[in-house]
Symmetry: C2
Subunit: 206 residues, 2 copies
């Protein structure tokens, strides 16, 4: 299914398509045209058709997309038909919120271990998980063959944590620290930073 | 300064430039070429020059960009030379993490009021703010002329909260609920959803 010619920005839109198709299903719809889907997503129908054409196209002209089938196909393309284990480093306010967020496991992402370096935090439980010492990080990754990690440490320590994670085989990082991480080719990083989103929106405010 | 011909995706990159320029300053640099900046951001130098050319261009050929001047110009373009008040609706785990996150106020975004509808939460304090009842939402927005809000309520209530916020004049929404909000033209919405980021990265994992 994987095709390396697909632009990254197209891949990034597929989860948004899945989320919207899910909403449409809950509203009782079973078929949708690219025009209707475009309205929901503030995109043009031709942009949607072009995105989907990277994967062979999913609709017959004039009949629209079968929502369940399209959703399942996109899930397949994104390797979502499995449970992905992940771990989390840094159990401050943001880390705790993530450990308590059931939306991750409902969508197939299960945090199986959480780490911190503070003796005040190690041993405490959040969202059912006992926080472990950073000393066990390497063992945990190798034992459980985890490929995904969330970094929720302060900015100053993020790059060092990132390097350690990648050294033991982590291939995808969800970065909550407000810094750009440097990673070798082939390692995925996604940034979550409310400030970057806010700073973009203020452009449009008077 | 505002130019409506600039693609949204270019505007979205400006905060990332500012963040990276800030990092470079802390590393002791004062001038940077588009090639070096591109390396940091995994972008081509020509893409960076094209982005900046929307605003008149900032470098002389061969001499690189003056980091402080470029950063200040970008801050000016994004209207960041002021304190932006914002409010927050929904004081669960994510809302509490945001209220306790000092990175917002350090970057000029000050949460001045937080709302919840649960009697168990109303009256409690997080990050120095006392949580107010949703009944006071409209008064607060009109009194303080707030333009930005963060929505940190569950998915089911997000659209209703969004409608109420927009009705009283909110123009920019940071949406943490895992749904696509429908808003009238002119209202900005930025989504923060770890699941969408994770679902994109798994495409690249074996």
């Amino acid at each position: 299914m994987k095709c390396n010619d697909v632009p990254d920005i197209v891949i990034a839109r597929l989860p948004v398509y899945i989320q919207t198709l899910n909403q449409l299903l809950r509203e009782g719809k079973s078929v949708i045209s690219s025009t209707e889907l475009g309205d929901r997503l503030s995109m043009t129908p031709s942009q949607i058709r072009r995105d989907l054409s990277y994967f062979g196209g999913f609709g017959k002209k004039g009949t629209g997309y079968d929502i369940i089938w399209l959703m399942e196909s996109l899930r397949d393309i994104l390797n979502l038909n499995q449970i992905w284990r992940m771990l989390l480093v840094g159990v401050g306010h943001v880390g705790q919120a993530l450990l308590n967020y059931d939306g991750l496991s409902r969508k197939g992402f299960e945090i199986t271990a959480a780490f911190d370096e503070s003796p005040k935090i190690i041993g405490k439980r959040f969202g059912g998980l006992e926080v472990k010492s950073m000393a066990h990080l390497e063992d945990e990754i190798q034992l459980n063959q985890v490929k995904i990690a969330a970094i929720t440490v302060p900015a100053e320590s993020a790059q060092a944590v990132c390097d350690r994670l990648i050294n033991c085989g982590i291939q995808a990082i969800l970065n909550y620290a407000p810094v750009s991480l440097e990673v070798p080719p082939g390692v995925q990083v996604s940034k979550i930073d409310p400030v970057l989103k806010l700073q973009k929106m203020t452009y449009y405010l008077d």
